[in-house]
């Protein structure tokens, strides 16, 4: 393919640049090309900052409709859903905006940065990088003029700590084994006459050169008659203070032959190809004057390539340096409804997400000890209390910071409330007036989040003039009670405390619901598609009584949750389904419940199966397909009252304790694998018993 730059793209980029310049919200866009220089500045800004606001743009949120957040989700399910989202989708933009209080100007100085990031594969490793895009999210981003070309062409790549660790480990094992050392060519018997002739010619050339070196002494300029004749294929250079021949213009097969020849006939010549240094570097034949020198040269080459490979890994870390900076500086991180954001940060830049919310909270707290969610601050406090609907970032911004949102500074004096002033500094240029930026551009969103936070703090009665360092802001008792609390789910008001890993609900009413109610749930999927919720209810009410069914929730078009009033209805229902489906007599066919399994594809199980299905890495669009894909072969999963729960509790407890013991080591992945296979075993055992039962009933 020829190289080119499509004109449309250029004109589009041009108009974009133009409009952006026109809208003139000062925002530092960071791509591959200006990352290194920007990072140095950012480091200084973050060090000086009182707090740092962040925001992320992703390629999607939910990988299937049934993975959306529902009211009947238990908090562990909610975590699993966030985990799935963070593992599958990519982060394409990362906004970082340090805020520093300036006493002289009586205002916050902010430095909004907008990083384009893209998970480009910089190092070769076994697996290919892949991410999911949710169509509606992509469409949403395009509505706000997200520049996908910049992201993919110019986006900064990254390695997570786990990826870096693996890469280094791979490098070390290769280095230790010495495979890295001069890839030895296999002894290929010379079959064709051409190869034989070529090898012979090379042998002559090389010995001629070597003899010349020996004859005239090292470092003396000489004329290599025949070498120069051969179309510049040999070039005399120096490699690590030794004379060498640089080979160019040979095919890979010919190079292999040369390598064979040098090894076979010349003890004092070494074939060196340092691909790690530079993939385009040419291979060399180096002269070493003694056995010892040969060994030391080998070692030098080996160490060199090791260092180069190490350097490449370091270079591939890319954007993660920003995350490491935020982590080491231990600044207060401010996000807006940022549980998912933190999940993304953890899985993309640190380690694979742990399997439970508690472990997650524990590990996040280790890297980011102070996180505050503006949504929590806005909701938890009576002074600020606003309608739930108005806590979206943009409406909170225009409500709390009208002086910034509207871009006019005049109302500052007019209003009774004291507004916190914010100025923007980009490339040493400071501005206090600008028009609004593009919403849903991560850098601008981070800026808005920071402004909302600053204003909310001021409204809470925190006086920035008295607090000079970021430490005191963290220790401020008015803020203290909001730090490290995140919404696990906004819709249900489920809050997780990162410091303790405890979960709590916003209202006590919810808390009551938390306990025990999930035993009353039965999950049914693969129902005949014509059945509506009220039809299902009618069927159930006929059998279990009018007050038996509390509610029916739709998971998606193929699945429902039935909430019974008592847990025993669940096991009774599952027993009935099991026995009625097995027998074919008229009584069971006419049974009112049999309407539910008409067609024979209806499955039913308790709440724990829902968890199992949600924790699977597979994501099919329909719930019924998903259940099939994770390998559910049984029709009905019976529950003896209270038995299932204890089994699963025990398992999760042991898991948690083992994990706590292993903490930072990388054994977690291994552990989760084990527990997964344990789950499989459980399923298989179940399957086996079912088969036995079938046999028994057939007898």
């Amino acid at each position: 393919m020829t190289k080119h730059g499509p004109l449309t793209a250029v004109t589009r980029a041009f108009t974009r640049a133009f409009t952006r310049a026109y809208s003139s919200f000062p925002l530092k866009h960071v791509t591959k090309s200006n990352f290194d220089s920007t990072f140095a500045d950012l480091r200084a800004h973050v060090r000086a900052a009182d707090f740092v606001a962040i925001d992320l743009e992703m390629t999607g949120v939910t990988s299937a409709p049934w993975r959306e957040s529902f009211e009947f989700d238990r908090s562990d399910i909610r975590y699993l859903k966030v985990k799935d989202s963070a593992e599958k989708f990519a982060v394409v933009q990362f906004g970082v905006c340090p805020f520093r209080w300036d006493h002289h100007r009586d205002a916050f100085i902010s430095h909004p940065h907008n990083f384009f990031i893209f998970p480009r594969q910089e190092l070769e490793s076994g697996a290919s990088y892949e991410f999911l895009c949710q169509t509606t999210s992509m469409d949403f981003l395009s509505k706000y003029q997200f520049d996908f070309n910049t992201c993919i062409n110019e986006g900064i790549s990254y390695l997570s700590r786990a990826q870096e660790r693996d890469a280094l480990r791979r490098l070390n094992s290769r280095h230790g084994d010495g495979v890295l050392e001069l890839k030895e060519a296999k002894d290929v018997p010379l079959v064709s006459i051409v190869d034989v002739l070529f090898s012979e010619r090379m042998k002559n050339k090389l010995s001629e050169w070597r003899d010349g070196l020996l004859r005239e002494g090292l470092g003396v300029s000489q004329s290599y008659g025949s070498l120069n004749e051969s179309r510049g294929q040999f070039q005399i250079v120096f490699y690590k203070m030794r004379p060498a021949l640089c080979l160019s213009g040979f095919t890979s097969h010919q190079l292999k032959l040369i390598q064979l020849v040098t090894r076979k006939y010349f003890r004092d010549l070494i074939y060196v190809r340092n691909e790690a240094e530079n993939p385009h570097s040419k291979p060399l034949v180096v002269y070493a004057d003694s056995e010892d020198d040969t060994d030391s040269l080998r070692k030098e080459v080996k160490d060199d390539s090791y260092r180069q490979a190490e350097k490449r890994i370091m270079a591939a870390i890319g954007f993660r340096q920003v995350i490491d900076l935020l982590s080491t500086e231990q600044k207060l991180l401010v996000g807006h409804n940022c549980f998912l954001d933190i999940g993304h940060i953890y899985s993309k830049f640190l380690y694979p997400l742990p399997s439970t919310a508690e472990e997650f909270a524990f590990s996040v707290n280790k890297y980011f000890p102070y996180i505050v969610d503006t949504k929590i601050v806005l909701n938890a406090n009576q002074v600020l209390k606003m309608k739930k609907s108005s806590t979206s970032l943009s409406s909170a911004f225009s409500l709390l910071c009208p002086h910034i949102a509207l871009g006019s500074r005049k109302c500052t004096n007019a209003a009774l409330q004291s507004f916190v002033n914010v100025e923007i500094e980009i490339n040493e240029m400071r501005s206090s007036e600008w028009s609004t930026g593009v919403k849903h551009e991560a850098g601008y969103d981070a800026f808005m989040t920071g402004c909302v936070f600053a204003q909310a703090c001021s409204n809470l009665g925190i006086d920035f003039k008295l607090h000079s360092t970021s430490k005191s802001l963290i220790q401020n008792e008015k803020l203290q009670k909001h730090i490290n609390l995140l919404y696990l789910s906004w819709s249900s008001g489920d809050i997780i405390n990162l410091r303790s890993g405890n979960r709590s609900a916003e209202s006590s009413l919810l808390q009551q619901k938390q306990k025990s109610v999930y035993e009353n749930f039965v999950l049914i999927w693969g129902l005949p598609s014509i059945l509506r919720r009220r039809d299902i209810k009618q069927c159930l009410v006929k059998v279990f009584g009018l007050t038996s069914v509390v509610s029916i929730y739709r998971v998606d078009e193929t699945a429902v949750f039935v909430q019974f009033s008592k847990a025993e209805f669940v096991s009774k229902f599952l027993d009935l389904k099991e026995s009625l489906e097995r027998s074919n007599d008229p009584i069971s066919v006419l049974h009112p419940l049999s309407k539910l399994w008409e067609g024979g594809h209806t499955f039913a199980a308790g709440y724990e199966t829902y968890k199992e299905i949600c924790s699977s890495p597979i994501s099919k669009v329909l719930f019924a397909e998903q259940a099939e894909a994770i390998g559910i072969r049984w029709k009905t999963k019976l529950i003896e009252l209270g038995v299932e729960d204890t089994v699963f509790d025990k398992e999760s407890k042991t898991k948690a304790s083992v994990c706590a013991a292993e903490s930072k080591t990388g054994k977690k992945q291994h552990e989760t694998d084990d527990s997964r296979s344990l789950c499989y075993n459980v399923i298989n055992d179940f399957h086996d018993t079912e088969v036995k039962q079938v046999r028994a009933s057939n007898l």
Partner: protein, 616 residues
């Protein structure tokens, strides 16, 4: 910032200027996005009608998520299909190049179009696709070729598959004009009669009230109130009434009854299951108004169809023309076409071929044609095949195509499709199947049809740049002579493993070949029939295992026959490593297969397999 961008732009502009070849022969491919789609549709329609063939080329967001998901030489057609199916279901087509062409007397007349697609959810129903995967390396290489992702995502054409379209119509409660069900209903029962009469009086009453309103000159407020009280609905600013029905028969009865009123137009509202859910009667004010409504309905349906089908209309055009479809990697391309534009992919190859044959009766796979004249390794991708052909054969073929007005923009996207046209023309020349006159065309089509029986199983990408000496050891292997080994240490090379096996047991003193599929999994080919069974029996009996083999087994090496691999593909165990997938397949109970599937598996087991060892 602005200065930075403009600086960057300047640089880009400069590059652009210096890089664009101002070559008059530079091919112009018409780029089609949402904005010029309607116009291009008409154009391509006439081009397809006048051409003999239609070439296709797709640009996808990825092709495989793990090395072993690629179609490899040891795949049977069935497993190759399953792999292609997996890819087609996950990844997305971003560009679809279509090129209707014909060739006569070594002149190829081509009309290339390049459609930019994006599965935008135009109807807000989670269709055509809820989400799709992207392989980073694919996107990066597309970016390197100058692909404009913004154009694709902002202005890409959306579409619905045939299956999705019918589902969407139901979901939208899309009214269908009901003049097609006019056959009189035979002997209505008493119940029917009661049903008819009751509804008839309802309709009559409603119609009279409506007529009164239209004629009477009440105040607007009163009219408004009346509307609320009567809770009357409107359809296209005409009053209408919806009658719920419980069955198809009831719907027919109502429609028949409505025919007694000559100013009512019946519309059917479809239910989820496919039948009618309700009948809507629309009141028209006069004969002219009725005709007007009919015309409106007609155009509304067409417009709706356009919105629903989107790009699929091009596929429908190609299908309706019944012209031979030319593609380079037909298995990959057509699984994508089937899953995106027709219906979800069926579970087996046979069903897929059957379903596809109804839409595209003749498909020509150029890489298979290529295999007739050269080794498969030379046909890995279009440029390779082109250069091979150029060096080895004489095939004078001229490309000519009318320069289309693309507004001076020079685009290289979609040029692959032109290369495919050219390659096909050259191959036809070399293979002496080129049509000299129109009469031969049918002949050609029948020659080519044989190609469709199987798909190429040549991997599309070269694994390494090194070319080793070509040896003619393409041999047929029976699937039952293949054994998979996995779970050994991941630093063991093929040579090491082979040596270890040779030392371990006498059965390895016979000729066998071994290749690594990926790290820590390998495939062994026993050239002597029956030995694979001996080996597997030995592996299952731990007492017989000894020596280096015992060492390997104790390190976790496992072995299984081809059927386990087959099962892993069938069950869709697309784990990131083959070793993991095989592990899961061995654990999984095989009784989940229905008897017919098991037969199929057995048939596969004994089917012969062409293996090119150098390709492994």
């Amino acid at each position: 910032m602005a200065s930075l961008i403009s600086l960057f732009l300047q640089r880009r502009l400069l590059c652009t200027r210096s890089n664009v070849p101002h070559n008059p022969s530079h091919w112009n491919v018409k780029q089609v996005t949402k904005s010029n789609f309607a116009g291009s549709l008409e154009e391509i329609k006439s081009h397809i009608a006048t051409s003999d063939f239609v070439a296709l080329s797709l640009q996808n967001t990825g092709s495989f998520s793990a090395a072993w998901h690629r179609v490899s030489p040891f795949d049977t057609p069935e497993t190759a299909y399953l792999k292609a199916k997996h890819a087609a279901e996950r990844f997305q087509v971003l560009q679809f190049a279509v090129c209707p062409f014909s060739f006569r007397a070594s002149k190829v007349a081509a009309h290339p179009y390049n459609f930019h697609l994006f599965p935008r959810d135009e109807l807000n129903m989670g269709m055509p696709s809820y989400s799709f995967s992207c392989q980073t390396s694919s996107l990066t290489s597309m970016a390197r070729e100058g692909f404009d992702f913004n154009a694709c995502i902002y202005d890409g054409i959306s579409y619905l598959s045939r299956a999705q379209e019918s589902a969407a119509k139901v979901q939208m409660e899309y009214p269908i004009h009901a003049n097609f069900v006019v056959r009189p209903i035979s002997n209505p029962s008493l119940v029917d009669k009661v049903f008819i009469e009751r509804n008839k009086s309802r309709v009559r009453h409603w119609r009279n009230v409506c007529k009164d309103v239209i004629t009477g000159d009440e105040e607007p407020l009163v009219q408004c109130l009346r509307k609320i009280v009567l809770s009357s609905e409107e359809f296209r600013s005409r009053p209408c009434m919806t009658i719920d029905v419980c069955s198809e028969r009831q719907a027919e009865l109502i429609i028949e009854m409505l025919q007694d009123f000559d100013d009512l137009v019946p519309l059917i509202i479809l239910a989820k299951g496919g039948g009618a859910q309700a009948v809507r009667a629309v009141l028209t004010s006069s004969k002219e108004d009725k005709n007007l409504l009919m015309a409106e309905l007609q155009s509304m349906e067409e417009e709706h169809n356009k919105k629903l089908c989107g790009f699929r209309e091009v596929i429908d055009l190609i299908s309706a023309s019944q012209k031979p479809v030319v593609s380079y990697d037909s298995l990959n391309d057509l699984t994508f076409v089937h899953s995106k534009f027709l219906a979800p992919l069926p579970p087996t190859m046979d069903e897929f071929l059957h379903s596809l044959q109804l839409v595209f009766p003749c498909v020509v796979d150029v890489s298979r044609l290529m295999n007739k004249i050269g080794p498969p390794r030379k046909a890995r991708n279009v440029p390779l095949a082109m250069s091979y052909l150029k060096n080895h054969f004489f095939a004078p073929v001229d490309m000519e195509f009318p320069c289309q007005d693309t507004g001076n923009k020079i685009q290289i996207h979609g040029h692959n499709v032109l290369d495919i046209c050219k390659l096909f023309a050259k191959l036809s020349y070399v293979l002496k199947i080129a049509p000299s006159a129109d009469s031969d065309l049918r002949n050609l089509a029948s020659t080519l049809e044989n190609n469709f029986n199987g798909f190429s199983t040549v991997p599309q990408e070269t694994t390494d740049g090194e070319i080793s000496i070509w040896r003619s050891n393409t041999r047929k292997v029976n699937c039952s002579d293949l054994v998979f080994l996995w779970g050994f240490r991941d630093d063991i090379t093929a040579g090491m493993l082979k040596n270890m096996l040779q030392e371990s047991h006498t059965i390895f003193s016979e000729a066998f070949d071994l290749r690594l599929v990926e790290k820590s999994s390998a495939i062994v080919v026993f050239w002597q029939p029956g030995l694979s069974k001996t080996f597997l029996d030995m592996m299952s009996n731990s007492l017989e295992v000894s020596g280096t083999l015992l060492e390997l087994v104790s390190e976790g090496m496992k072995a299984a026959g081809y059927e386990i691999y087959d099962r892993a593909c069938k069950l869709g165990l697309w784990e990131s490593s083959l070793a993991e997938a095989l592990d899961k397949a061995t654990i999984n109970p095989c009784c989940s297969f229905s008897p017919s599937e098991r037969n199929l598996a057995q048939r596969c087991q004994y089917s012969e397999l062409m293996i090119d060892l150098d390709d492994l």
